[in-house]
């Protein structure tokens, strides 16, 4: 009997990134949910709770902090782990306080290799909050 596939929600406003990550994760036996911005992410989260959220932090619309606060404030999502994807450097993300959230478990700077991405997701699945 095979265990149920883990679900990763990908939130990125760049279709090239969104689709490529989804394709690769599906190729690695993950289920994916795609959202093109923060608003769509929160809408999707009302329907389904993923195991991991890959969240781009430079998107139009809702600010990353708002998205993180909404997730942290929802008890249904308390076990969801978040990996931040970003074109900004780590020190700037730290200064903005984006890494302070307890559900944020990793930070991947763009550009990144798919190896780094898959390793981060695998680590995430075994990590505890």
């Amino acid at each position: 009997m095979t265990s149920k596939a883990k679900t990763v929600m990908i939130v990125d406003d760049e279709p090239g990134v969104l689709n490529m990550i989804a394709r690769i994760l599906e190729g690695n036996n993950y289920r994916t949910i795609k959202a093109k911005d923060g608003q769509e992410c929160l809408e999707e989260l009302k329907e389904e709770v993923p195991d991991v959220i890959l969240l781009d932090i430079m998107m139009p619309g809702l600010a990353t902090r708002e998205i993180l606060s909404a997730i942290e404030g929802d008890s249904r999502l308390s076990e969801v782990k978040i990996i931040l994807l970003s074109a900004i450097h780590l020190p700037e993300a730290e200064e903005r306080g984006l890494l302070a959230g307890k559900q944020v478990v990793d930070f991947i700077e763009k550009s990144f290799t798919t190896r780094r991405l898959i390793d981060a997701i695998e680590n995430c699945m075994t990590a505890t909050l």
Binding site: G16, V17, M20, I24, L25, N28, E92, R115, I118
Partner: protein, 497 residues
């Protein structure tokens, strides 16, 4: 000319002929042969036109030809003014620019509130003395002389007044009713505007120089030296340093300096002590989180007991300083270093200089970050170049964009240019039942990674087996490059088989 104008001119001539004493209505009536009430009507109209003015003496009015109509308007009480005169006098008084009327001999006949606020009441004084504190008119005092000498009808110029204000002057010649002429000038205190323009010019110049320095520099110390030279050219500071921050040990190290006296006679210990003071200032300045400016003479008493002041004071004594500033060089969230500017006794940075330094600090930090990143990348490239494992990169059309020396050696090529731009398929073959190069690239796109054996095809056509790990690099907009590494031990083993 209409009959009315002829009569008006006769009245004006009659008043002129009466000379300095002016003329009463009775006197005029006898000369121009007009009924008193008709003459009164003409006189009032000419006064409303600004061509005549009068003095009230007892119940009688003594009429004069206006030399400066504007001046007359301001001499009259509100009651005596016509509606138009009232409006005009309010506008001229309250306008946020200076209005000045001069006669043909530079005498100030009229100045409005704006100018009185700047220079006091100078009516009756010579323009060049009141505004420029000069004994006589010079060409650089607004070029008004060009109008007086009949060379121009109007001028526009910029001049510095006796207080160092920059004045924008726009003046034109105006014929007076008595045939003489006056000069009406609109004067604006443009000092703030000029300072802003200068600042923008300097800031743009600094950014241009900074851009050039970043493009020219190969290392951070080259860049920092170049930045200090550029800043010195624009701001003219006495001594300056850029200290680079090392996050590994949370310390600063001096990388470039300019303007210091030769330090040949300073012993090593003294030199070390000075460097420690600078590093101390830099460390303490970081804690302030914003640029710090010290004025030693004025604020030293307040600074006693303060760690930052202790280091700063050491430097002040060593170099006889009047002022010092320490500006953190930060890009968003990341500290790269400190810019230290020292001014000797008797010299200070102007407000514009300070704001210029602050304005350009993020640009300097960005330049340092860029060169630092390039240096780091070069170091990492060195590691890849040194690796015994063949490494290759290819674009999304599978054409090679990078190979390291180990790849060239393994495939038997001498130069990168023999392989770059060629499709990956030229360098691999697949055995029976194995995935081909194109299948592998598809697999990388599907799963993100691929690992397995391939048959490499050397330049001379020879074949060898190799173990390959391939992955994909994803950038800001989507997939960018394939990257692959071959394992030398595995290659050798397969080669031996």
């Amino acid at each position: 000319m209409t009959a009315e104008e002829v009569t008006s001119n006769r009245i004006i001539r009659a008043i002129q002929n009466m000379g300095e004493t002016g003329a009463t209505i009775d006197e005029l009536s006898k000369i121009v042969h007009l009924e008193r009430h008709t003459l009164s009507k003409y006189l009032n109209r000419l006064r409303a036109d600004g061509r005549l003015t009068y003095k009230q003496i007892g119940r009688a009015r003594v009429w004069f030809v206006s030399r400066a109509p504007l001046q007359s308007i301001f001499r009259l009480s509100d009651k005596e003014k016509t509606y138009t005169e009232k409006i005009l006098s309010h506008i001229l008084s309250d306008i946020p620019e200076g209005v000045l009327v001069l006669d043909f001999d530079y005498t100030v006949l009229f100045m409005n509130r704006y100018l009185i606020a700047l220079y006091g009441d100078c009516i009756g004084q010579k323009y060049y003395h009141a505004f420029f504190d000069r004994p006589r008119e010079g060409y650089n005092q607004g070029k008004i002389g060009a109008i007086i000498e009949g060379k121009s009808e109007e001028i526009e110029s910029r001049a510095k007044d006796r207080e160092g204000r920059v004045l924008n002057i726009k003046a034109r010649k105006m014929r007076n009713p008595d045939g003489s002429f006056s000069i009406i000038a609109i004067i604006e205190d443009a000092s703030e505007k000029v300072r802003r323009e200068e600042r923008i010019k300097h800031l743009s110049e600094l950014h241009r120089l900074l851009g050039e320095s970043v493009n020219r520099s190969y290392t951070i110390d080259q860049l920092c030296s170049s930045i200090l030279e550029d800043l010195r050219e624009v701001i003219g500071y006495d001594m300056g340093d850029i200290l680079i921050y090392n996050p590994e040990n949370n310390a600063f190290s001096g990388l470039a300096q300019g303007g210091y006296p030769p330090g040949g006679d300073l012993g090593n210990n003294r030199h070390r002590e000075i460097e420690e003071w600078k590093e101390g200032v830099a460390t303490a300045a970081i804690n302030c989180r914003e640029p710090v400016f010290f004025e030693f003479k004025e604020k030293w008493e307040d600074m006693k007991g303060n760690e930052l002041a202790m280091y700063a004071h050491g430097l002040a004594k060593e170099y006889d300083l009047e002022e010092m500033c320490a500006v953190p060089l930060k890009t968003k969230g990341e500290l790269h270093g400190i810019l230290l500017i020292l001014m000797r006794s008797g010299r200070t940075l102007s407000g514009e200089d300070r704001s210029l330094i602050e304005g350009v600090s993020e640009g300097i930090a960005g330049g340092i970050a860029k060169i630092k990143l390039e240096e780091e990348l070069r170091l990492k490239v060195n590691a890849i170049e040194l690796s015994r494992s063949p490494v290759l990169m290819a674009d999304m059309e599978c054409k090679l964009t990078y190979v390291n020396p180990a790849f060239l050696k393994m495939w038997g090529y001498d130069r990168e240019k023999d392989v770059l731009g060629h499709p990956c398929t030229e360098f691999w073959e697949h055995g029976e039942g194995e995935e081909g190069t194109e299948d592998i690239l598809t697999a990388v796109k599907e799963r993100g990674n691929w690992e397995g054996e391939l048959i490499g095809v050397g330049k001379d056509g020879s074949e060898f087996k190799a173990q390959l790990w391939a992955s994909l690099i994803i950038g800001k907009k989507g997939p960018l490059q394939f990257v692959a590494v071959a394992e030398p031990d595995k290659i050798n083993k397969k080669w031996e088989q």
